[in-house]
């Protein structure tokens, strides 16, 4: 029983990381139509920056999350400003998507150059520790991660439904031309999209790097957030959240009952099947497609 509970909590914690990255991924897709292949690598950079901050300054975890999130938000904005915005109007979408692969290569190699090839482990005090309460092993960090992700989701939901900027953002995603005619400055909105999604990715990077390690190939974990975004219906923020949690759960349970070597294969196969059976995603309403 306690084993199963621990498994579920761990699965949800991992899933919440996927969710944070997947939300940003979906937001970018909705706003620009881009499949941002460099987004998982932004998460990786977040984990790296978190490592440097943790070893140099010893900031507490929440501050680490925020600082790293802010740095990556800046980076995400910069990539859009330099790489995508100048050519957004004239370049074909296919070319823009290939350009995001180029950014992914750049980020990975910059990370290799700055932080080296060896996996870096966060200092002892940041690592997750299990506590036994009433015979059940609880890892507070897993619960904290889940809480952070849920808080982020609630905040995003309120932002998108209750604030003018949030509604403008949704309008831009829905129909950029109409939004522009209504006086929404859509380039501003896209900038905001890249900033927010970068922040979430950077924060998620700290979370994941503190439980695994910080390394240049951490983006491979972030790639699974693609799967999460697709699971939830591509381009739907709430869907991305749920998709991440489902993926984390499925994968953790598959690792436990099938084989840890094959858990990724299970997760990916599930992704392709869902794409085929429900291209609009688990929660999709059929509007996820951008025309």
């Amino acid at each position: 029983m306690s084993e199963a509970l621990g498994l579920v909590v761990f699965g949800l914690a991992i899933g919440s990381i996927y969710s944070l990255v997947a939300i940003g991924f979906s937001m970018i897709y909705r706003a620009t139509g881009l499949v941002h292949f460099a987004h998982p690598d932004l998460m990786m950079i977040g984990g790296m920056i978190g490592y440097t901050l943790a070893t140099r300054t010893g900031l507490p975890m929440p501050l680490l999350f925020v600082c790293s999130g802010l740095s990556v938000a800046g980076l995400s904005w910069l990539i859009d400003r330099v790489g995508f915005r100048p050519i957004r109007r004239q370049a074909a979408l296919l070319n823009l998507i290939i350009a995001t692969i180029g950014w992914s290569i750049i980020l990975v190699n910059v990370a290799l150059f700055v932080w080296g090839t060896a996996p870096l482990s966060y200092p002892q005090e940041y690592l997750p520790k299990g506590r036994t309460i009433g015979g059940i092993v609880i890892v507070p960090q897993n619960l904290a991660m889940l809480a952070v992700a849920l808080a982020a989701m609630v905040a995003l939901h309120l932002f998108f439904t209750r604030t003018v900027v949030g509604q403008a953002l949704r309008a831009t995603a829905e129909n950029p031309v109409a939004a522009q005619l209504m006086g929404i400055r859509i380039e501003r909105m896209m900038m905001l999209t890249f900033l927010m999604s970068g922040f979430l990715a950077g924060g998620a990077g700290v979370l994941v790097a503190s439980i695994v390690y910080a390394n240049f190939d951490l983006g491979l974990i972030g790639i699974k957030s693609f799967a999460a975004a697709v699971l939830g219906g591509f381009g739907q923020v709430g869907g991305a959240m749920v998709g991440g949690l489902v993926l984390g759960l499925v994968e953790t349970i598959a690792a436990f009952y099938v084989s840890s070597a094959y858990k990724d294969i299970v997760a990916y196969t599930l992704l392709i099947l869902i794409l085929l059976v429900r291209p609009e995603g688990l929660l999709g309403t059929g509007r996820a497609r951008r025309d």
């Binding site: 790489g83 074909a92 070319n95 180029g102 992914s104 290569i105 693609f226 591509f234 392709i272 794409l275």
Partner: protein, 328 residues
Amino acid sequence: MTISWRRRFWTPTSGVTVAALVAVPPLLASSPYYLFLLNTIAVFVMLALGLQLVLGYGGILQLGYAGFFGLGAYTSAVLTVHHGWPFPAAFVAAMVVAVIGALVMSPIVRLHDVNFAMATFVFGLILELVYNQWSAMTNGPIGFRGIPPPTLLGLTVREPEHYYYLLLAALLAEYLLISRLLHSPFGTVVRAMRENETACRTAGVDVTRVKVTLLLVSSAIAGAAGSLLAHMNGFISPPTFGWATSVAVLMMVVLGGVRSLPGAIVGAVVIRLVVEQTSVLGQYSNIVFGVALVLFMAFLPTGLAGLVGRVSARVPWAGRLGTGSVPS
């Protein structure tokens, strides 16, 4: 149709190119390293041409191409080493297995562009994971050793300079096949589909079938290239068949020029040379790759071939340099 196609292919330039390619190995005979490099380039030219067909001409973002390369390599390796198959049979089997892999993947062509790209990407990841995890068959991350050199008609092709001719023959066959395919009525449909899929559908074209055909043909090519690589090196390991290689081949197509067969060849040569000669750029080589990819997509989405096209449009005599590429 046939005559005009032959005339277009056998231009003086292409004749000279082929003759030059045949004459290369004796010139390099003193240097095994350059021969090895040349052979590796030939394998990647095969891959780049295959991806050019599906991505460049078909406009289908196949992001898991290296996975099919791996299907061919591992099939050929397993069949010759574990089951004692002769090379020709294993070579055909490699293509067949790659085609079967593509058939398994083919339902995803129904998906819309972004979902499709995602699905091919994930399919490639699955294949790479299988190569890593299915140790009983692939020997996992350690790699598969002891793949014998191919024996054809009683002759064992052991020397790199002889292997080169095997690769060259395969390459020419592939080039002719693709160029023939693109000049056939099917090729016209492919171009029309890339320009406007909806109009094509309206005109009664079975777009799904065209896409599946492109995927199958390009996968067969990747399978053949994989088999040739396996028997050339005698050793294969999973990273060769993963995302990094898919991206590398993608870059060859993009850099050389989308929708240009000579472009894909030039792209493959340039990228492989840069990869092999990393001493030129040192550890920055991959950053340079990434930057090049971004810059090309921004400023020169038609690649080097597009640049040549632009130049030749201004220089009257340059137009005659055409080597049988298909006008887009």
